[in-house]
Symmetry: C2
Subunit: 197 residues, 2 copies
DNA sequence: AGCGGTTAGTTCAAATTCGAACAAGCATAG
DNA sequence: CTATGCTTGTTCGAATTTGAACTAACCGCT
């Protein structure tokens, strides 16, 4: 192994801030959702993702992949949402094995009712604190990171399978619920001194 | 309530990228640590945070606060690390109720052994993908967000208690293991159309 | 000293998540 | 058509995490 390249001061500061911010934000989001709608962030993400899909439905595996959650984890949450009547399971026409998670009318209403509060939190603690340039920078940064990770050999979660169909289910990007239907300091270091979180 | 201010295209793109990146990165980090050292990210963060404290020790509550984890959650993980001999519990001299989590020599060695791989992942998927300007932008962005959240009324996790002692335990910042000892598009929207994750 | 209100940590039950193991259904090469 | 191999979604057990409840210990006052 080459000498470990520790993080310099600027990198460490950025990383530490990132770690703190993500943990705090996750907590805030979770609290708001729980309080305002009894939903988990994970559950909310499911509803949101489904709402932006053609037909408001998606295969389990594809949904798990997009949400970056394990298949079993999704099975569990879909079960919860089904109990609440917010999502329904339908068998896939084209593939007998397949299961379609479908957002119900009630689920859509729940999402519409809950979304404002969620957006408010995201704005209050992040978006509204940033200049347009910073927003763009964040998009750029996070997009680069995402690309890097999706490219690298997949972990247990990712399905290395052949490219997903390019046609239909492309990620909504932004469109509305559209589908109507160490040795820290510099690099001089050797000792593991400061270590990122 | 005023009309909900939905996220515009740029904001939504930034937020979506953020959500995806954080989930993916958490997973990568978790995988690397698990594989290379049998540690959880949560456990690693505990060791790292302790290593940067004067005396390599910290009160349970303060540690939980800094790691943004619940007290009970920390109790559990400290128990795990204690079993592994990486951390020891010591009673606090000044407060009979208090418990000091102390990084053991073995814990320090484990951290030193594990850190390089961890840093490598952080670099490979994030830091090394960014220009110095972007690193600085990320620091700025995440610092702003963190400040906003730490300021706002504390959730269950945060202890509103009187300011913590300014003297000793200030956050290491960067120093080495120093102490030796919807209606997506524009804002025109009304419908909850696109909703962030 | 004795009280009432806080704070520190732990314990406990409930909820969640993940990976491994499975049962079933495709799909491709012979 | 059929043997083989991959995919899909679920089930199961183990590990984690959180909030509420609880015990012990501080703190400021009387």
């Amino acid at each position: 192994m080459s000498e470990t390249r520790w993080l310099n001061e600027a990198e460490m500061a950025a990383w530490m801030a990132y770690v703190a911010a993500t943990h705090l934000l996750e907590r805030r989001v979770e609290d708001q959702l729980k309080a305002d709608s009894g939903l988990t962030h994970a559950q909310f993400e499911i509803l949101a993702k489904l709402s932006a899909c053609p037909g408001r439905q998606l295969r389990m595996t594809e949904l798990a992949h997009r949400l970056i959650v394990s298949k079993s984890g999704l099975t569990y949450q879909i079960g919860q949402l089904e109990r609440k009547g917010l999502v329904a399971r339908e068998s896939c026409p084209s593939d007998e094995r397949g299961v379609l998670a479908v957002l119900t009318e009630q689920g859509m209403r729940c999402l519409e009712r809950t979304a404002p509060g969620h957006v408010a939190v995201v704005r209050a603690f992040l978006i509204d604190r940033l200049t347009p340039e910073e927003i763009e920078a964040m998009r750029q940064i996070m997009t680069k990171a995402t690309a890097a990770m999706e490219a690298a050999l997949p972990g247990p979660l990712r399905d290395p399978g052949p490219g997903r169909e390019p046609g239909a289910g492309s990620d909504p990007g932004t469109g509305p619920g559209s589908s109507r239907e160490a040795g820290p300091g510099s690099d001089r270091g050797t000792g593991p001194g400061e270590v990122p979180g």
